[in-house]
């Protein structure tokens, strides 16, 4: 008999039964729809125990890497035990160690966490203030760097960003929840071309991803587009130019809608990106972060030009809305 642990209770599975069927039969609520391994609404995460390969067919590498599987396609072998969770969240205490203005409206916030945070470059965390105010920010740092780095965009009237800009000093304490998100680099196919594109602080996760890929020995061309309205919306320009000069396969292209010139191109981001692609972008992987309209539009265009959906990793920074839950990259 195989058994499954869900929210501190063990549930036995009948021979050949799927995790989904076994949990439903015993009264556990699990979202599900097609039961054919297609719709992915029964996605769960294995926290302990082995998941059969068939339960991960069709999932993105980033999800597989984090132990996600389809409950409707998961038939654990006889005699095995599997512990599962929906979206297990972590909250760890953190302390601000450094604040640095990166541009007129972007603040780097560097944090130390009291317990190690197991994350991949490009994921995001939710900052939870003592009074419960919560906002999500992408991580610009690499796990090996120890300190976490967030790029906080200063939003006019923004509750969290205003607090960071006005009141927070080194030593300030808060909690972090996460990490979350599946916009990150997975080693393998080191010669595949990578397309990284972001607007505004969408650069934060891309800054992590590009360095992660380079450190992992990625040798294929890496095209990093950073778009802003005006040149003062760009940041980390010198750092990225220096990085590109050390890595000939990194092509950094800062782009603005107006006021460009010199080393900064001027024009619409999406058109520039599409114009830079080969006719059949076979084997390319894309990472898109930032403004939701830009990200979702670009994702669709890339799919239509031939990118496989599983090779497009997108993190749309949704705005925070009153009384709604925290969302990625919000102010």
């Amino acid at each position: 008999m195989a058994k499954v642990r869900h929210e501190s209770a063990w549930y036995p599975l009948e021979p050949g039964e799927t995790v989904l069927d076994g949990l439903l039969r015993q009264g556990v609520q699990v979202p599900h729809a097609c039961r054919a391994g297609a719709c992915q609404s029964c996605l769960m995460r294995a926290t302990s125990g082995a998941v059969p390969e068939a339960a991960q067919v069709g999932l993105k590498d980033t999800l597989k890497a984090r132990g996600y599987f389809l409950a409707c396609a998961c038939r654990p072998r006889e005699g095995t035990a599997l512990e599962v969770a929906g979206a297990a969240e972590l909250r760890v205490p953190a302390r601000v160690v450094d604040l640095e203005s990166l541009s007129g409206d972007v603040l780097a916030v560097r944090l130390e966490v009291e317990a190690p945070l197991d994350y991949r470059a490009g994921q995001y965390v939710t900052v939870v203030r003592a009074d419960g105010l919560a906002r999500s920010y992408s991580l610009a740092s690499l796990p090996r760097e120890g300190r976490l780095e967030l790029h906080v965009r200063l939003v006019p009237g923004g509750a969290m960003s205003g607090w960071f800009a006005r009141d927070v000093r080194p030593g300030e304490r808060m909690h972090l929840q996460g990490p979350a998100g599946d916009c990150f680099y997975v080693p393998g196919q080191p010669e595949a071309p990578l397309l990284l594109a972001g607007t505004g602080t969408g650069l934060a996760p891309l800054y992590g991803i590009v360095r992660d890929a380079l450190e992992a020995g990625h040798t294929g061309p890496i095209h990093l587009f950073h778009g802003a309205l005006e040149p003062r919306g760009l940041y980390l320009v010198d750092a990225l130019r220096a990085l590109a000069s050390r890595h000939p396969n990194l092509h950094y292209r800062p782009l603005v809608l107006s006021g460009g010139g010199g080393d900064v191109e001027e024009g619409p981001l999406e058109a520039r990106i599409l114009a830079s692609l080969p006719k059949r972008p076979v084997g390319w992987r894309a990472f898109l972060c930032g403004n939701p309209e830009a990200v979702l539009s670009l994702r669709k265009k890339l799919f239509l030009t031939g990118f496989s959906l599983k090779d497009i990793h997108a993190d749309a920074f949704l705005p925070s809305t009153p009384r709604a839950g925290p969302v990625a990259g919000a102010a």
Binding site: A33, C34, R35, A36, G37, A38, C39, Q40, V57, G58, L296, R299, K300, F303, L304, G306, S308, L309
Partner: protein, 121 residues
Amino acid sequence: MASVYERIGGEPAMAAAVEVFYRKVLGDDRINHFFEDVDMERQAAKQKAFLTMVCGGPSNYSGKDMRAGHKHLVARGLNAMHFDAVVGHLKETLEELGVPAELVGQVMAVAEGARADVLNR
């Protein structure tokens, strides 16, 4: 006898077909407005479930689900022309992937059988 789903290669064949099919659908100005404002990954997953169903694979889609799932689109003007366009893309997709004509014909028959439910007639 094995289903068309099994005979053309099961899940891997569906995975290959869904992107080709969905790309055709999204590229078709007659019908792509029905697919805006939806999450592409969820939509692609639905397309895969649909392909699995019409190919006779493991799926619990019922006529009732098809009706309920398309009711809001019928309210937005979904009609026989749109249905024909989608079925046409499905046929082209299977042909491009080298599915034998006889099996394509079987899939077309299943798709045609869903017409009344999809159009809420």
